[in-house]
């Protein structure tokens, strides 16, 4: 019996900013992991990765990362991917910086 396929998201870095981005089902690049397309099928994952790799003027280094479904959308599994959704742990820089600002504006 084959092992169950671990769902994936396509992630990369933005060409100009370097910030982490995720490919959405409607073919945008989102800064938020929970907006990513959660891909449950291996063949489809390869197609989506090809689609990402073709966007050379938008993103750098796309790859497939393990993910799981959560209440607000896909969540990372590995701690490396969890860090990529936030930013470094020594300063409130990167995505968590924007998150903090958005919260202030509420």
């Amino acid at each position: 019996m084959s092992r169950r396929y671990i769902p994936k998201v396509v992630t990369a870095n933005d060409l100009v900013e370097g910030d982490v981005v995720y490919q959405t089902a409607d073919d945008r690049w989102s800064r938020h992991h929970h907006e990513a397309e959660l891909i449950e099928d291996e063949a489809h994952a390869q197609l989506r990765l090809l689609n990402a790799s073709a966007q050379k003027q938008v993103v750098v280094g796309p790859y497939l990362a393990d993910a799981k479904a959560g209440p607000n959308g896909p969540e990372p599994i590995h701690f490396r991917e969890a860090f990529r959704t936030r930013g470094p742990s020594n300063y409130v820089h990167g995505k968590q910086e924007f998150a903090a600002r958005e919260n202030e504006n509420v």
Binding site: N13, L15, E17, D19, G61, F79, R80, R84, P88, S89
Partner: protein, 557 residues
């Protein structure tokens, strides 16, 4: 300090102009990432986890105050207001935008700095003793020779596609503060029987996946022979080194696989030819360079203010005890300014701190600064009478931490907070260790200790040569920290020994506490340092402290 010649300035400007064009073509889509990547790496531009990172060389760790101010300006204008000083005497900016990098490089060019050959399979930024030109124990200032090597190696056509990156370090003192034995080539200034200065040349050191201590390839090389001899080593390696396997491509493996004797024979054969070809032009250049490194005219004044402060001010006395080193001029001292305030990121300096350091260098340090491989800033020449006021100004800025050489003076690589190659974080481990032992109040009692932390096997944090080394790994999707013991980064360099299984993120600080409590219990009084105690007793009592449960099992059996 060395000043760019017209040739140097034109060269850097031209390289920057080319890179500006390359960035434009990347942004327009004319270049793919595969095409652009080697070009950006040649200019020190990496892509890390959350952003781009620009690595700027600080040749042999020497900066003047104007350069430090420019580094602060760049941090404010194009980054997040700080920079990270690294073990290879570089500064890294963690948040530049691709489109801004050409402007940053131009701004660096204005103060005679660049990011060329801070990446790629070339000869990297040449590192040197951070006390160069100041240390009391120095035979000769290593920087003129380091600059000579830099000029020879920058854009050297034969050495742009070496099998792998190549790192050279130079020290002018018998006490090795430049970790020469962990470099591809280490150059140690020594004297022969006749008292003439020359070099002991070491080859094949390196950390990373396969750590090795460099071995002596030439026990005494006359000074004038240095460049032809280096050229002989490099071209031998260029031919003999492996290109089939990245992990076997460093010169340490070339030397190891062929044997030191065979490698040396090949080098000596080439050297015989090169030596006559150099024909002394390099020595004429060296003489010119050396003139640029003439020491400042050291001020002659009474040092009473210093003696008075030592007697009156306990905080000053403590700081003087840890952060001052002996200067070759009796009335001066070398000041280590710690970038390791407890709980801060080792090696980080804010732009405000950089500007203050530049001002202090102008006011009290003849305008000179150094960056140490231990990620601290050095004022190499301070008249002792200026030390009390310098200390007071450092205190106001939170830069007077009296911990140089102590537990919290930790080397830590960026780890998984920044680095794409990381398998675990290292910065928060350093922060937690420093805060924990400060809270326990044990740091001074523990005394001299080198803790070095890397976030993966590449060993950028030098963990192999730490008295206590910590290596962050990914064990089945969880951060795990392996401890090595007994490493040494000095002239007696040694690779630490793995103590046993790793510790989880939450367990590593308590484990180090058990280890150091065992040291306190075992040592022959406060004068016996951790590393001396370890050498006397071997690993057994320390392993028992790290793994108490296993020790109990053994006792029960």
């Amino acid at each position: 300090m060395y000043k760019y010649s017209d040739f140097d300035a034109a060269f850097v400007a031209e390289r920057n102009r080319q890179f500006r064009g390359q960035v434009e073509r990347r942004l327009s889509g004319a270049l793919t990432e595969d095409e652009f990547r080697p070009l950006r790496l040649m200019n020190g531009l990496y892509l890390q986890l959350h952003a781009y990172m620009l690595r700027v060389a600080i040749p042999y760790g020497t900066l003047n105050s104007a350069q430090m101010r420019q580094l602060a300006y760049i941090a404010d204008r194009w980054d997040k207001g700080y920079g990270h000083f690294t073990t290879r005497q570089n500064i890294q900016y963690n948040w530049p935008k691709l489109k801004d990098v050409p402007d940053i490089l131009d701004a660096l060019g204005e103060v005679q700095m660049h990011a060329i050959q801070t990446s790629g399979n070339t000869i990297r930024n040449v590192t040197a003793d951070h006390f160069a030109g100041a240390a009391a124990d120095e035979i000769e200032d290593p920087r003129p020779v380091a600059e000579l090597i830099r000029q020879w190696s920058t854009d050297h056509p034969e050495f742009q596609f070496l099998p792998r990156k190549f790192k050279i370090a130079v020290t002018g003192s018998p006490n090795d503060r430049a970790v020469t034995r962990a470099n591809d080539i280490g150059i140690r200034t020594i004297r022969n029987d006749k008292g003439e200065p020359g070099y002991e040349v070491l080859v094949g050191g390196g950390l990373g996946r396969t750590p090795m201590i460099a071995r002596v390839i030439r026990d005494f090389l006359p000074k004038a022979d240095l460049l032809p001899y280096l050229e002989a080593i490099l071209s031998t390696y260029n031919l003999m080194g492996r290109r089939d396997n990245k992990y076997k491509a460093r010169i340490k493996i070339t030397v190891f696989e062929n044997g030191l004797d065979a490698f040396r024979d090949a080098v000596e054969e080439k050297f015989a030819t090169y030596r006559s070809q150099f024909g002394g032009a390099d020595q004429a250049l060296l003489a010119e360079i050396a003139a640029a490194f003439a020491p400042p005219a050291f001020r002659n004044a009474p040092v009473d203010a210093y003696d008075a402060a030592l007697a009156a001010d306990a905080a000053f006395r403590t700081w003087a005890g840890t952060n001052l080193s002996a200067h070759r001029n009796d009335s001066h001292a070398i000041v280590t300014i710690s970038l390791k305030a407890h709980g801060e990121t080792p090696g980080d300096a804010s732009s405000d701190q950089m500007r203050l350091l530049a001002d202090l260098a102008d006011a009290y340090g003849y305008g000179e600064l150094r960056i140490s491989h231990e990620q601290n800033v050095i004022l190499p020449h301070v008249h002792k009478s200026d030390l009390p006021v310098l200390f007071a100004r450092l205190q106001q800025a939170g830069l007077a931490t009296a911990n140089a050489g102590l537990l919290s003076d930790i080397i830590a690589c960026p780890g998984m907070d920044y680095c794409t190659l990381a398998t675990a974080r290292s910065i928060p481990v350093a922060q937690k260790l420093a805060l924990h032992f400060k809270a326990l109040g044990l740091e001074e009692e523990i005394g001299a200790l080198k803790i070095k932390i890397s976030g993966c096997i590449n060993a950028c944090g030098h963990h192999h040569v730490g008295h206590i080394g910590i290596l962050g790994l990914d064990r089945a999707g969880v951060e795990n920290y392996q401890v090595t013991l007994g490493g040494d980064h000095t002239e007696n360099a040694a690779i630490g020994e793995r103590a046993g299984p790793g510790f989880a993120y939450d367990e590593i600080v308590p484990a180090i506490e058990r280890l150091l409590r065992a040291y306190l219990a075992e040592r022959n009084g406060p004068s016996e340092t951790f590393i001396d105690t370890y050498r006397r007793l071997g690993p057994a009592p320390f392993k028992a402290a790290l793994y108490p449960a296993e020790a109990e099992d053994r006792d029960a059996a």
